[in-house]
């Protein structure tokens, strides 16, 4: 991540694992014009539960976002991770730069 970007933080959510959950979570952000920079999501245990990592900017609105997330029915818990073990940085290497991506055919 380059040095000019604002300070980022990772929100770790434990959620019920079903098709609507991701919409509920990201909908809270999009409705408030709050960008999510990175998302990781995997089932844990027997698959009833998933864990989501959201990489977001440290922003004055973040405490309000967290309180809104806490209200979501499918969210079991949320915590703010101080560090993310460099995981998002390492993932960045796996992602090809936008120039390498073949362009979508015009519709």
């Amino acid at each position: 991540m380059n040095s000019v970007s604002p300070k980022r933080t990772v929100l770790e959510l434990t959620v019920n694992n079903h098709p609507g959950v991701m919409s509920h979570v990201v909908g809270l952000f999009s409705r408030r014009a709050f960008n999510v920079e990175g998302i990781l999501c995997l089932p844990v245990g027997n698959g009833d539960i998933s864990r989501i990592w959201l990489l977001v900017d440290e922003d004055g609105r973040l405490p309000q976002m967290i309180r809104q997330i806490e209200k979501l029915y499918d969210v079991k818990s949320i915590l703010r991770r101080q560090e993310n073990d460099g995981l998002f940085d390492r993932l960045e290497e796996l992602f090809t730069s936008p120039n390498d991506v073949s362009q979508k055919e015009p519709q």
């Binding site: 098709p19 609507g20 919409s23 509920h24 405490p63 309000q64 806490e70 029915y73």
Partner: protein, 558 residues
């Protein structure tokens, strides 16, 4: 243990609704919810009310829920049935009303194929519900339906939508035991230390004001709030949603705050050094320019929804909890206070900055009509409104006395709310009188429900303030758009009296009545639905008004 029953998903839904205590459901059938209707047709406990538009069904459910405080149910089919319902659901979300909407969806195998009457109900309802479900199997209904009711009534109430594919409604399921009906969660514990600090702040404050919001109504805290105000010697303002929480004649009542509030309420808040905010959320129509709202005041904020605390205004003490519980426990810590200086200043503010109601004695003027209607009603009558000038005039001039008797669309401000919501309230309290103040613009947005009113023969009086205009828009253009009045005057106005009669309800015209007061009294006294028409001068404004973006002390027309 009772024997296992084999039932369809639709039958399970109807049984669960019966067990939940639901006795009236408003809705419209279509192919995706016909199995539900087939099952509902066999119910001896639930009466179905057939409105003429799904938005009507949604607002009928709201009217029942707002008047009773209990969750209410509406039905719609997939696609257009559901999209028609959405406005009423969004309205319930913004005003925290417990409605459970049950929608039909295309069969599971067709979801995502652009099937006939398929829309993404889950996606569309997501941001306007407290929670929503897409049901995957008939067995899941046994868990989801009670859960839907629990969510709707727990904590801060709100609408829940349950989308049920047609084949799930038809799917057979073995039911060995029935789940408990969904009910509200236990109230959260309250932090004692916070209560003590809050009590100390109130004791030390010199110019405290109590600011009551809709949460006071929802938590049944009106009595408690009154006792609390009396104990603490607290002048009290209410939001539009909290009208009725404190009787307007109460010596501590300053009336409604905000954009069209009582000038004395806004002035007292401007001087206040401590604001006790209870079940309110600093809505911009209430606060005006937020940075200049109660500039000297420290804030104690009490709300059941922790996300409301510190959302718009930082508070010095934030207490999350049921407002009735918190007020009761806070009162126990308060010594009685008379605050002679502050309360005598408040009396002076009421004299110097009264809410003016010109024409209040003339039943053919806007304020006078509201007063004349009030004179025909007892304290228990229910008042619903549409949205516009008439709504604000009714808010200002009606002598609000009791909670849950004032049903208005506060958060969403939905024209068309009035008639079907009033109808729902009348269904919930068939022996009561329900009055709906409406405007000529708003009434036409759900006019089809006049037929439903006739069909149900509800004791509902629609008082139509006809200014042949979208009056509130006309007012904004007059005041803030250089008097360029565009698209706010109607060139065509229906004959509302004839229209009501054509729909099967009585109608009278106060314009031509020899004795309007007598005509009004007679129309209200006679049971059954009735439209009461009265022309209103389009030049009349809602005053005072805080201009958009201004501080509440900068009222025009105060």
């Amino acid at each position: 243990m009772s024997a296992t029953e084999i039932l369809t998903g639709a039958e399970v839904v109807v049984r669960l609704l019966e067990r939940q205590g639901i006795r009236v459901i408003a809705g419209i059938p279509g192919s995706a919810n016909l199995p539900l209707y087939d099952a509902l047709g066999h119910s001896t406990q639930i009466r179905h009310v057939l409105p003429r538009h799904e938005q009507g069904a949604g607002f009928i459910a709201q009217g029942m829920a707002r008047a009773s405080g209990q969750p209410a149910v509406c039905f719609a089919t997939s696609g257009p049935g559901t999209t028609n319902l959405l406005t009423a659901i969004a309205d319930a979300k913004l005003d925290s009303i417990p409605v459970v909407a049950i929608t039909g969806q295309v069969s599971r195998s067709l979801i995502g194929t652009d099937a006939f009457q398929e829309v993404d109900t889950y996606g569309m309802s997501l941001p306007i519900t407290k929670h929503n479900f897409l049901v995957n199997s008939a067995a899941d209904l046994l868990k989801i339906l009670p859960e839907a009711f629990r969510i709707a009534v727990s904590g801060r109430p709100g609408p829940v939508l349950v989308d049920i594919p047609r084949d799930v409604q038809l799917e057979k399921v073995d039911v060995a035991t029935w789940p408990e009906p969904g009910k509200a969660d236990a109230l959260p514990a309250v932090d004692d230390a916070l209560l003590q600090t809050a009590a100390r702040m109130i004791a030390e404050a010199r110019r405290p004001v109590l600011y009551l919001g809709g949460g006071v109504i929802h938590s049944g805290a009106a009595e408690t709030a009154r006792a609390f105000a009396e104990q603490g010697g607290l002048p009290t303002v209410t939001t539009l949603m909290a009208l009725g929480a404190l009787p307007v004649e109460h010596p501590l009542s300053l009336g409604m705050l905000g954009m069209h509030g009582a000038p004395c309420a806004n002035m007292a808040m401007d001087e206040s050094d401590l604001l006790i905010v209870v079940g309110a959320r600093f809505d911009d129509r209430a606060t005006g320019k937020l940075a200049e709202f109660c500039p000297q005041a420290r804030i104690i904020h009490i709300d059941i929804d922790p996300a409301e605390l510190n959302k718009l205004r930082a508070s010095h003490i934030a207490i999350s909890g049921d407002v009735e519980t918190v007020l009761r426990r806070l009162q126990a810590q308060l010594k009685p206070q008379d605050r002679p200086d502050w309360l005598s200043h408040i009396r002076q503010l009421k004299t110097d900055w009264p809410l003016r109601l010109p024409g209040a004695d003339d039943p053919r003027t806007h304020y006078g009509l509201v007063r004349a209607v009030a004179a025909c009603l007892d304290d228990n009558a229910i008042l619903a409104t549409d949205v516009g000038q008439h709504q604000m005039w009714a808010a200002q001039a009606y002598p609000h006395h009791k909670p849950r008797r004032w049903l208005t669309s506060g958060g969403l401000g939905t024209m068309g709310f009035g008639l079907p919501t009033a109808l729902g309230a009348a269904l919930a309290e068939p022996d009561n009188t329900v009055v709906c103040f409406s405007g000529d613009g708003s009434l036409l947005m759900n006019i089809q429900e006049l037929v439903t009113a006739a069909q149900e023969n509800v004791n509902l009086k629609i008082v139509l303030m006809n200014n042949a205009a979208l009056g509130l828009v006309h007012q904004q253009q007059t005041m803030f758009y250089g008097a360029r009045r565009f698209a706010s005057l109607f060139t065509h106005v229906p004959d509302f009296v004839a229209l009501a009669r054509a729909c099967g309800i009585r109608a009278i015209d106060l314009d031509t009545a020899d004795d309007p007061r007598a005509a009004l009294a007679e129309a209200i006294k006679q049971r059954g639905p009735c439209l009461i028409h009265c022309s209103i001068d389009v030049q009349q404004l809602v005053c005072p008004i805080v201009p958009p973006g201004a501080a509440n002390r900068e009222m025009i027309g105060a």
